[in-house]
């Protein structure tokens, strides 16, 4: 049943086709004001055009040919490369999965839906509020070959603070991540249809040195709200504010499933879709986290260390 659910989710994630932003040829330094205006207008037209155009694959080798100025401001750095081909790669132990890119395309937040008596927990599609910084990239880790490929995440840009907005307007921040992921595959080779998945850890959205507006923090800061000493004296003390004063570093569990649907044997690249669930921010222990579902695409390359 669970497996069926995952495969259904993966199938829906497969609906995401690559979105290719229009690459503009650099921002000119000598542009006068009117030029800049014209350029903006042109860019708007181009952007509109790009949306109307059918999706076009942009591969890793094409991205590698671009200069910084060609990528800057386009949002391309937030996209995962596409993979062309449907080959097969049988990885060996000792090889690594590198340049892994995980780009969410849809977000949902679990919520209690329905009136009293007949409520059910349901994932509600939510809108991403974070601009162009929510994709994980450069992730690498070890591969264990054999009858079932196992990928162990080691390092890279493996977390991205993201905020989504639910239909009611409530904003839910969460640390999108795959830290300490151990993903077990269902076969010995990366080929279309190959699936792998496993658990990861979601660290606290804020780390110890973050100070809240009242000067309280995890590993630093005050124990109680600096601005409200009167509230915290007397018999009840900080009872009412205990949740806010008690700053914890919560580590929660998440799960991710990948399905490979493109393999480029020549470039040793794999690409496909993913579905992940994790918990949202607890605001350092004071809020009950919500369950977040993300779906999107991923890219990775099999590398043989010399």
């Amino acid at each position: 049943m669970k497996f069926l659910l995952v495969s259904t989710l993966l199938a829906t994630a497969g609906a995401f086709s690559p979105v290719t932003p229009q690459i503009r040829p650099s921002t000119s330094l000598s542009a006068s004001k009117s030029d800049a205006f014209a350029a903006t207008a042109l860019a708007t037209v181009l952007a509109a055009g790009a949306m109307a155009q059918p999706a076009q694959a942009i591969t890793k080798s094409e991205i590698n040919q671009l200069s910084y100025l060609q990528v800057k401001g386009t949002g391309l750095a937030n996209r995962c490369p596409e993979v062309v081909g449907e080959g097969s790669i049988t990885p060996k132990s000792g090889q690594k999965l590198v340049d892994m890119c995980i780009e969410p395309k849809a977000w949902a937040v679990e919520e209690e839906v329905g009136s009293r008596g007949a409520t059910e927990r349901k994932f509600v599609t939510s809108k991403v509020m974070t601009r162009q910084t929510y994709t994980l990239d450069g992730i690498e880790g070890d591969i264990t070959g054999g009858s079932n490929v196992v990928f162990t995440e080691k390092e890279g840009i493996d977390y991205a603070a993201t905020t989504v907005q639910m239909p009611g307007g409530e904003r839910v921040p969460f640390l999108f991540t795959v830290k300490n992921l151990v993903a077990k595959g269902n076969g010995p080779a990366f080929k279309p249809g190959f699936q792998m998945g496993g658990a990861f850890k979601t660290p606290s959205y804020r780390t110890g040195l973050f100070l809240d507006p009242k000067g309280r923090g995890g590993t630093t800061g005050y124990d109680m709200a600096v601005a409200l000493p009167g509230l915290q004296s007397g018999v009840d003390g900080d009872d009412a504010m205990f949740k806010e004063n008690n700053k914890t570093f919560d580590i929660t569990d998440g799960k991710i499933e990948f399905e490979v649907n493109k393999v480029n044997t020549e470039e040793q690249e794999i690409g496909g879709v993913f579905v992940a669930t994790q918990l949202s921010d607890t605001d350092m222990g004071s809020k009950v986290p919500k369950k977040i579902l993300t779906k999107g695409i991923f890219y990775a390359r099999v590398d043989t260390p010399v």
Partner: protein, 149 residues
């Protein structure tokens, strides 16, 4: 009479020791016990609800090993704690904080990619290292804790 009052106070104070073990703190005893009580009360409530029973770390025991003292905690200290040891920062220190956790100080010699010169440097400072229990909120800040001085 006065003596009796003092004796009473002492016994009353000793009643607190069971709740809050003596720890170096700037808090008054009364405040401390109140907090301990709230913590246990909230703990019971959390156990009922099933929410996170985690509590904030106050007066972290390993504080003196995060770079302020003569010894450095290999598992929790930030990379800049090694600045005081000539030869450590940034190369060897970087390798220490990128790896781990270490169950003992001797574990650092097993870090992959250490050169023999780097091992000599580690040997030189071995007495200045301790390997305390990793604390997640410090471990995550080992490479970059956002403090640039």
């Amino acid at each position: 009479m006065k003596l009796a009052v003092i004796a009473l106070l002492i016994t009353a104070a000793s009643a607190f020791t069971g709740v809050a073990p003596a720890k170096p703190s700037t808090q008054l005893n009364a405040a401390d016990s109140r907090r301990a009580f709230l913590t246990s009360a909230a703990g019971a409530a959390a156990a009922v609800v099933g929410a996170s029973p985690a509590f904030a770390i106050r007066d972290y025991e390993g504080l003196g090993y995060l770079g302020g003292g003569s010894q450095v905690d290999l598992n929790n200290a930030n990379v800049r704690a090694y600045l005081k040891m000539p030869g450590m920062y940034p190369a060897v220190a970087g390798k220490i904080v990128s790896n781990g956790p270490y169950s003992s100080v001797g574990d650092i010699y097993n870090i992959a990619g250490l050169t023999s010169r780097e091992k000599d440097v580690l040997k030189k400072y071995e007495s200045k290292f301790v390997a305390l229990k990793p604390s997640a909120d410090f471990v995550i800040d080992r490479i970059n804790n956002g403090l640039y001085r």
